[in-house]
């Protein structure tokens, strides 16, 4: 018979084992990225006997240079995250606080974009973008991400704004506030955690997105980081620089990790906002 202490210890042992299982691949990638020369190639070794940053240096010489791709990724991710945050907040406010003809229909149309999987509209999407001359441009990719990430963002913002008590609105209106003041000075400060969440979710989703970027970007200089890494992985002339690949993987993990850690508190707060509303 194991006592309460035994149960607690078992619980922590289990949690520890799961943590190790999840962190192991990351640790392995980090270790191989620091291994010199052929050491990073499979079959995998364990701890590197010698540490080097040469793999990271190689990465800056791939294609148009690493920074070009990082810049592309940052521009697309930040652009779409900012656009989604602004549009979702405005739309959420509108859907929450105004009753207008066609409100239900408009809401369902926006949500429909969430129900249709991105993968199934690939071909038509490519054709549409080519027709309007936006394929192979960063702006085009930003707009595509914005469109497909908007429904979730709007949904989150709507639930957050719904949870702001109407009494606050009424008090502000009595004091002479119009809709703009209402949004800017009453609602916005209260839903700030949700806005952070929406920005974060969209930044990370756009940063990691692969299929859309692969299809829409045909010029190597327009690639985002994931697409660039895959071209590294498939190698030139059949040779694969595993060290550089691992180094690139580490670099793509860093921004999302830093952002998530920095805003973790808001993140959780924002996701559960409105969750308790009956």
């Amino acid at each position: 018979m194991i006592g309460r202490r035994g149960v607690t210890m078992l619980y922590y042992a289990l949690c520890g084992a799961i943590t190790v299982a999840f962190l192991f691949p990351v640790a392995w990638v980090l270790a191989s990225s620091l291994r010199p020369g052929e050491g990073a190639a499979p079959p995998p070794g364990w701890l590197p006997s010698m540490l080097t940053l040469e793999n990271y240096a190689t990465l800056t010489r791939v294609g148009a240079g690493l920074w070009r791709y990082v810049g592309n990724s940052v521009a697309v991710s930040l652009g779409s995250a900012a656009a989604v945050a602004v549009i979702a907040t405005l739309a959420g406010f509108g859907f929450s606080r105004f009753r207008f003809r066609g409100r239900q229909v408009a809401f369902i149309v926006v949500l429909a974009a969430m129900m249709v999987p991105f993968q199934t509209v690939l071909t038509p999407l490519f054709i549409v973008l080519r027709t309007v001359g936006l394929h192979n441009t960063l702006l085009g990719l930003t707009l595509v991400y914005t469109t497909f990430h908007l429904p979730l963002g709007m949904f989150l913002m709507l639930t957050a704004i719904e949870s702001v008590p109407r009494a606050l609105d009424e008090a502000a209106v009595i004091d002479g506030a119009g809709p703009a003041t209402l949004l800017g000075r009453i609602v916005l400060p209260l839903v700030a955690p949700s806005i952070v969440t929406v920005v974060l979710i969209n930044f990370i989703a756009s940063w990691n997105e692969f299929l859309g970027a692969l299809i829409l970007m045909t010029d190597q200089s327009n690639f985002t980081v994931p697409v660039m890494l895959v071209t590294v992985a498939f190698g030139y002339m059949g040779t694969v620089d595993w060290g550089a690949l691992q180094a690139g993987t580490v670099l793509t993990i860093l921004p999302t990790l830093a952002l998530t850690l920095a805003f973790q508190r808001y993140y959780v707060q924002g996701l559960v906002a409105g969750a308790t509303k009956g």
Binding site: P117, Q119, T123, F126, F210, L211
Partner: protein, 82 residues
Amino acid sequence: MRRTLKLSLVLSVTGSLLAFDQFYIITRGGPQNGTISMVYWIYSNAFSSFRVGYAAAMSIALLALVLLVSLGQLVLLRDRDA
């Protein structure tokens, strides 16, 4: 927990049905198309063989399939007492 389970089940099953990245990056669908996924097949038809119409038709079929599977799960996991 039925509703939470329902949501995560539907999301993860549709996510897996629509998988592409892993297949493309790890195996490129090979050997001999042995590890190809539905989205990969659509992708290679549209953007490698340029059979765009065929690919678009398959996209619709895939959408119908995903819809069917999701509906099936929702029916199986419906609230009995509601």
